[in-house]
C-alpha cells in the first residue's frame, strides 16, 4: 500500500487541468478564430488525458472507452471548424 500513485495522479490531474486552463484562456482571448479552434482541439486532448488519469486513479477500465472516443472523434469538431474557416462551409458539394 503506497501513496505514490495517488499523488502522481493528483499531480498529473493538476498539471493537465492547468494546461486546460491555458488552453481555455487562449479560447477566451482569441484573438482570431483559428486560435480558438486550436485551443478547443487542445482542450479536447487535455480532456482525454484527464479521463485517462482519472481512469488510473480509480483503477477502472471503463474510462478507457471515453478516452478512445475522444481520441477518435475529438478532432471532428476542430476539423469541421477549420474547414468552415477555410472554405466557408463544412460540407461542400
Amino acid at each position: 500500500m503506497n501513496n505514490v500513485l495517488p499523488w502522481a495522479v493528483y499531480f498529473a490531474l493538476m498539471c493537465v487541468s492547468v494546461a486546460m486552463g491555458c488552453a481555455a484562456l487562449r479560447l477566451l482571448r482569441g484573438p482570431q478564430a483559428q486560435d480558438r479552434v486550436l485551443a478547443l482541439d487542445t482542450l479536447y486532448i487535455n480532456g482525454m488525458l484527464v479521463v485517462l488519469t482519472l481512469g488510473i486513479g480509480f483503477g477502472s477500465g471503463i474510462y478507457f472507452d471515453i478516452a478512445l472516443l475522444i481520441a477518435l472523434f475529438g478532432f471532428v469538431g476542430a476539423t469541421a471548424m477549420a474547414k468552415f474557416l477555410l472554405r466557408g462551409e463544412v460540407i461542400e458539394p
Binding site: 493528483y10 490531474l13 493538476m14 493537465v16 487541468s17 492547468v18 486546460m20 486552463g21 481555455a24 479560447l27 477566451l28 482569441g30 478564430a33 480558438r36 479552434v37 485551443a39 478547443l40 482542450l43 479536447y44 480532456g47 484527464v50 479521463v51 482519472l54 471503463i62 474510462y63 472507452d65 471515453i66 478512445l68 472516443l69 475522444i70 477518435l72 472523434f73 475529438g74 471532428v76 469538431g77 476539423t79 469541421a80 471548424m81 474547414k83 468552415f84 474557416l85 477555410l86 472554405r87 466557408g88 462551409e89 463544412v90 460540407i91 461542400e92 458539394p93
Partner: protein
C-alpha cells in the same frame, strides 16, 4: 303527443324546406303553409283541455341527471300565445308566397321561417326554464338568419348582427337568471318555479335574478335602452318584419315577463326596472316614430312604443294591468302585422317605402288603403277597434295605480302624451302614403296586388273590428283563460266592453286623439328631418362606435395583457417558473442537508472555472461572434462531459461527447446559411437606455434562475438519497436484466419504454428536418458561394461552377491527405461503433453511442469528400434506416406478445455452439440494434439534408441529372 307534434312539425318542415330545389316556390309555400296551418289546428284542438284552467303536459326524458328533460306545458296563456304564433305564421306564409320575388332563394327563407316558428312555439310551450332559454336563443339565431336574408345588402348584414348581438346578450343573461332561479327553486321545472314565489322573492339573489331576467326580456322586446336594434331589423323581408318583429319574437320578452309575473313581480325593484323601461319605451318609441321617413321605420318605433306599453302594464304590479297587457299583446299583433303587410304591399308595388316620396296611393290601391286605414286607426286607439279597448284599460290602470304622488300624476300624463304621439304617427302614416296628390316619380306604377296577398291583412283587420266591437264574445273567453293561467283562481274581475261610461280614461283617450290630430297638423307645417332632442341618438352609429370601441379596446387590453414577441413570452415563462419555484422554497425556508460533502478537488474546481468562463463568454459573444460562441459552448460542453466522467457516469460522458461533436458539426452546417451579422447597430452607436434596461432586467432574471437552479441542486446534493426505486435496478440488473451496465439495462429493459419514445422523437425530428429543408429557401445573401471558396477557387483559375469529379479517387489539393486519413478512419470507426453497440449491456456504450459514432464517421466522409463524391459511391437511405430502426425496436418489444408477456419484456436464448462457446441472444440486443439503426439514420438524415442545401443552391442542374437524394 299533440303537443310534441306542434313543436316537431315546424322543425320537420324546416328540414324538408331546406332540401327542396331553389325554384320550387309553390311547393315551398304549400309546405310551409300546410305546416303552419296544421300547427294552428293542432293548437286550437287543445283548447278544450286548457279552457277551464287545465294544463296539458308532455315530456320526453333527455338528461334527467342534469335536471333536463324535454317537457312541454300548455296552459291558457301559452295556448293564447301559441295560437298567436301559429295563426300569424299561417297568414304570413300566404303573404310571403306572393311577396318574395322569383329570384329570391325561397327554400332558405321558408326553412328559417319554419325553424323560427318551431323555436318560438318552443319558447311558449316549454315547461322547463332551461329548455325555454334554449328555444329563446334559437329564435335569436333564426331571426339573425332571416334579417340577413338579403345578405348582399350592407344594412341587412348590419341589422342582423345588431339584432343577434343584442338578443344573444339578452339570452345569455336570461340563462344566468334562469339558472339562479332554478337554483333557488330547486328545479327548472316551470311548475315548481311558479310555486316557489315566496322563496324567490325573499332570496338574497332576487335582485340579481330580476336584473338578469329583465335584461333578457327587455332586449328581446326591444325596450329602452336596448331598443335600437329593432328599427335596423327592418332590413329583413317584410313578412319577417310582420311576423318576427311585430307579432311574435319581440313578444317573447313580454311573454317571459308575464310568465314569471307571479314569481318575480310585486316588488319595488320590479316596478322600477320593468315599469321604468316600459314607460321610457312607450314615450320615446312613440315620439321617434313621429319622425321616421321609412314606413317600416314608423312601424318599428311604434312597435317599440306598444311593447313599452305592455311592459309598463306588466311592471305595474296589479293584476288588472296584467290582463290589459295580455289583451294588448293580442291586439297589437293583429293590427301591427296587418300594417306591416300593408307597408310590404306598398313597397312591393311601388318600389319604395319612403314617406316623402309616397303620396295619394289611395286611388291606385283602394283596398290596401282601406285595410291600412282600419289597422292604423286601431293602432291609434280609435273607438270601435280593438286598440281602443286595450289602450283604455291601460289608461285606467295608470289612473288607479297606487303609488306615491308624483308617480300618480306623472304616469297618466305620460300615458296620454304617448297616446297623442301614437295618434299622430298613425295619422301621418296614412296621410303621407295614401292621401294627398298621387305621386308620380315612383319606381313602379302602383296598382292593387293580387287578392291572395291582401287576404291575410284583411283577415287581421276583420279581427280588429270584431274584437273592437264584440270584445266579450270574441276574445273574451280566451283572455280569461290566459289570465287565469297566470294569476290562478283568484283572477280579478274585469269587464270587456266597448263602452264603460264616461270616465277619466275615456277622457284621456279622447284628449289623446284630439292632441294627436293637432300634433299631426302642426308637424305637417314644420316637417322636421330629424326628431328634436332624441334625433341625435342614432342606434346604428352607437352600435358601430360601441363595436369599434370594443374591438380597439380589447386590442389595447390584449396588447397590455399579451404580446406577440417571443422575448416577452419567454421572460414570462422563465419569470413565472422562477417565482413559482422559489416561492415555496422561500416561504418554507429550507436549509441545506446534512449529507457529508466531498472535499473539493482543485483540478475539478479549475475545470469548472473554465467551464463557467466558457458559458459566460458564450453568452457574451453569441450576438456578434457566432463562431466564437459556438466554440465556447463546446468548451462548456466538454466541462460537462468531464464532470460526468469524474462522478462515475461513463455512459453519460460517452453520449454527451458524441452528441457534442455532432451538434457542433450541425450548427456549423447551419452557420453557412446565416449571413454575417449586420453590424450597423453596433458601429458608432450608443446603446439606447431602453436596451440597457432590458439587458439589466434579463441579467437579473438570469441570475435569479441560475441561483435558483444552483440552490435546488445544492439542496438535493447535500441530502441523503431517498430510499427509492434505484436499489432495485442495481440488484436486479445482472440476475434479471442480464447485463452488468445498470444504466444500459435500465435503458433497454427496465425503462425501455422511455428509450422507445426517445428514439421516436429522434426519428420524428429527422423527418421534420428533412421535410422542412425540402422547402428551404436560404437568405438571398447566403445563396452565393462563400467568399473563401470564390477567392480560393478563383485564384486557382477554376470556374465558379466547379463540380467535383465523382470518379476521382482522391480530391485534389489540400484535401487529399485528410481524405486519405479520414477514409482510413471509416472502417476503424465502424468497428468501434459495432463494439459499442454489442457490449453496451455490460460496459459503457450501447446502441445510441454506437450509432452516433457511425454517423459521425459517415459525416466525416462528407466533409472531406464532398456530397457528390460520397453519394456517387455510397447510397445510404437514412429514411429506411429510421424505419427499420423503429420497426426493429418495436418488434423486439412486441416479440414478448408471442410469449404472452407484456410489451418490451425481454426474451433471451442461450445456446452452445461448437467451437465458439456460449451464445447469448436476446430481444434486448435487437432493441439496441433498433436504436442503433435509428440513430444512424436520423443523424445522417439531418446532417446530410442540411449539407444538401449548398448542393441544391448552386449545383442544381448537375444534381437533378443524378436523380436527387434519398
Amino acid at each position: 303527443m299533440t303537443l310534441l307534434l306542434i313543436i316537431l312539425l315546424p322543425f320537420a318542415g324546416s328540414l324538408c324546406a331546406a332540401f327542396l330545389p331553389s325554384n320550387a316556390r309553390n311547393a315551398e309555400a304549400w309546405l310551409a303553409g300546410l305546416v303552419a296551418l296544421a300547427t294552428t289546428l293542432l293548437t286550437a284542438s287543445l283548447y278544450p283541455q286548457v279552457a277551464d284552467g287545465g294544463v296539458v303536459r308532455a315530456s320526453l326524458p333527455w338528461a334527467p341527471e342534469l335536471g333536463l328533460s324535454f317537457s312541454l306545458r300548455l296552459d291558457g296563456f301559452a295556448w293564447l300565445f301559441a295560437m298567436l304564433v301559429a295563426a300569424m305564421g299561417s297568414l304570413v306564409v300566404v303573404y310571403a308566397r306572393y311577396y318574395m320575388s322569383p329570384a329570391d332563394p325561397v327554400p332558405r327563407f321558408f326553412s328559417f321561417f319554419l325553424a323560427f316558428m318551431g323555436a318560438m312555439l318552443g319558447v311558449v310551450l316549454s315547461g322547463n326554464l332551461i329548455q325555454m332559454t334554449m328555444f329563446w336563443e334559437l329564435t335569436s339565431l333564426a331571426s339573425f338568419m332571416l334579417i340577413a336574408y338579403w345578405h348582399h345588402r350592407v344594412d341587412a348584414r348590419r341589422g342582423a348582427r345588431m339584432a343577434l348581438t343584442v338578443t344573444a346578450a339578452g339570452g345569455l343573461s336570461l340563462l344566468g337568471g334562469v339558472l339562479l332561479l332554478g337554483h333557488m327553486a330547486g328545479s327548472y321545472d316551470l311548475d315548481v318555479v311558479l310555486d316557489s314565489a315566496a322563496v324567490i322573492r325573499s332570496h338574497p339573489w332576487y335582485p340579481a335574478v330580476l336584473a338578469l331576467i329583465a335584461f333578457g326580456a327587455l332586449t328581446k322586446s326591444a325596450q329602452f335602452p336596448f331598443h335600437f336594434w329593432l328599427p335596423h331589423a327592418m332590413a329583413a323581408p317584410t313578412p319577417v318584419s310582420a311576423y318576427l318583429h311585430s307579432a311574435t319574437m319581440v313578444k317573447a320578452g313580454v311573454f317571459l315577463l308575464a310568465r314569471l309575473w307571479p314569481v318575480l313581480s310585486g316588488t319595488d325593484a320590479w316596478f322600477w326596472i320593468v315599469g321604468g323601461a316600459g314607460l321610457c319605451s312607450l314615450v320615446i318609441g312613440a315620439y321617434l316614430a313621429l319622425f321616421q321617413e321609412d314606413m317600416k321605420g314608423v312601424l318599428a318605433y311604434s312597435t317599440i312604443s306598444h311593447l313599452g306599453l305592455i311592459t309598463l302594464l306588466l311592471g305595474m304590479n296589479t293584476q288588472l294591468a296584467l290582463v290589459a297587457a295580455v289583451f294588448h299583446i293580442v291586439n297589437h299583433a293583429a293590427f301591427k302585422a296587418s300594417l306591416f303587410m300593408a307597408a310590404g304591399i306598398v313597397d312591393h308595388e311601388t318600389g319604395t317605402r319612403n314617406l316623402k316620396r309616397l303620396s295619394g296611393l289611395y286611388r291606385a290601391m283602394p283596398l290596401t288603403a282601406t285595410l291600412a286605414f282600419v289597422a292604423a286607426a286601431s293602432m291609434a286607439g280609435v273607438p270601435l277597434l280593438n286598440g281602443f279597448l286595450s289602450k283604455e284599460m291601460f289608461f285606467s290602470e295608470t289612473v288607479f295605480l297606487q303609488r306615491p304622488d308624483v308617480q300618480r300624476i306623472g304616469l297618466p300624463l305620460a300615458a296620454t302624451v304617448a297616446g297623442m304621439f301614437s295618434v299622430a304617427y298613425s295619422l301621418r302614416f296614412i296621410d303621407e302614403v295614401f292621401l294627398g296628390p298621387q305621386a308620380t316619380d315612383l319606381p313602379r306604377a302602383p296598382h292593387e296586388p293580387t287578392r291572395w296577398m291582401l287576404l291575410p291583412s284583411a283577415l287581421l283587420v276583420l279581427m280588429c273590428l270584431l274584437v273592437g266591437v264584440f270584445p266579450a264574445h270574441t276574445v273574451g273567453p280566451f283572455l280569461k283563460t290566459a289570465t287565469t293561467a297566470i294569476l290562478g283562481a283568484n283572477a280579478p274581475a274585469y269587464s270587456l266592453a266597448m263602452w264603460h261610461g264616461f270616465n277619466l280614461p275615456v277622457l284621456m283617450s279622447f284628449s289623446a286623439l284630439a292632441g294627436g290630430i293637432l300634433l299631426h297638423v302642426l308637424l305637417r307645417r314644420y316637417p322636421a328631418i330629424r326628431a328634436p332632442l332624441l334625433g341625435r341618438f342614432d342606434g346604428k352609429r352607437a352600435f358601430d362606435l360601441a363595436q369599434t370601441g370594443i374591438m380597439s379596446g380589447s386590442e389595447r387590453a390584449l396588447r397590455a395583457l399579451s404580446s406577440r414577441r417571443l422575448q416577452t413570452q419567454l421572460l414570462l415563462v422563465v419569470g413565472v417558473a422562477v417565482v413559482g419555484a422559489l416561492y415555496p422554497a422561500l416561504t418554507a425556508g429550507w436549509s441545506w442537508g446534512t449529507r457529508p460533502i466531498l472535499p473539493p478537488h482543485p483540478a475539478f474546481v479549475l475545470m469548472w472555472v473554465i467551464g463557467a468562463a466558457c458559458a459566460v463568454a458564450a453568452a457574451w459573444q453569441a450576438k456578434h461572434h457566432r463562431f466564437a460562441a459556438l466554440i465556447l459552448s463546446g468548451g462548456a460542453g466538454l466541462a460537462t462531459s468531464l464532470t460526468f466522467v469524474w462522478f462515475s457516469a461513463p455512459d453519460l460522458a460517452l453520449t454527451q461527447l458524441t452528441v457534442e461533436v455532432v451538434t457542433a458539426v450541425l450548427i456549423l452546417l447551419g452557420l453557412r446559411w446565416l449571413p454575417r451579422r449586420d453590424e450597423r447597430f453596433r458601429l458608432g452607436q450608443r446603446v439606447p437606455l431602453s436596451t440597457r434596461v432590458r439587458r439589466a432586467r434579463d441579467t437579473l432574471i438570469a441570475t435569479a434562475a441560475g441561483l435558483g437552479l444552483a440552490g435546488l441542486a445544492y439542496a438535493i446534493l447535500t441530502r441523503p438519497p431517498s430510499d427509492g426505486i434505484s436499489p432495485f435496478f442495481v440488484e436486479r440488473a445482472l440476475p434479471d436484466g442480464g447485463g452488468l451496465n445498470v444504466v444500459n439495462v435500465i435503458l433497454v429493459d427496465f425503462r425501455g419504454f422511455d428509450t422507445f419514445g426517445e428514439i421516436t422523437v429522434l426519428g420524428i425530428v429527422a423527418l421534420t428536418v428533412y421535410a422542412l429543408l425540402r422547402r428551404f429557401r436560404p437568405a438571398p445573401e447566403s445563396v452565393a458561394l462563400p467568399r473563401q471558396q470564390s477567392e480560393q477557387d478563383g485564384a486557382d483559375g477554376d470556374s465558379e461552377e466547379r463540380l467535383p469529379d465523382p470518379a476521382a479517387p482522391l480530391p485534389d489539393g489540400y484535401l487529399m491527405l485528410p481524405a486519405v486519413i479520414v477514409r482510413l478512419l471509416l472502417p476503424l470507426a465502424m468497428l468501434v461503433s459495432l463494439f459499442f453497440l454489442l457490449r453496451g449491456h455490460n460496459a459503457p456504450g450501447g446502441g445510441f453511442v454506437g450509432g452516433l459514432v457511425l454517423a459521425t464517421a459517415v459525416i466525416l466522409q462528407y466533409i472531406v469528400g464532398g456530397t457528390v463524391w460520397v453519394e456517387s459511391r455510397l447510397r445510404i437511405h437514412p429514411q429506411y434506416w429510421i424505419a427499420l430502426g423503429l420497426l426493429g425496436a418495436g418488434t423486439a418489444g412486441g416479440g414478448a406478445w408471442l410469449a404472452g408477456e407484456p410489451f418490451l419484456s425481454s426474451q433471451s436464448w442461450h445456446g452452445e455452439l461448437p467451437l465458439l462457446g456460449e451464445i447469448h441472444l436476446s430481444t434486448v440486443l435487437l432493441f439496441d440494434l433498433g436504436v442503433y439503426m435509428l440513430v444512424v439514420g436520423a443523424t445522417v438524415l439531418m446532417l446530410v439534408a442540411l449539407a444538401h442545401q449548398s448542393l441544391r443552391s448552386h449545383h442544381r442542374k448537375a444534381m437533378l441529372a443524378r436523380g436527387g437524394f434519398v
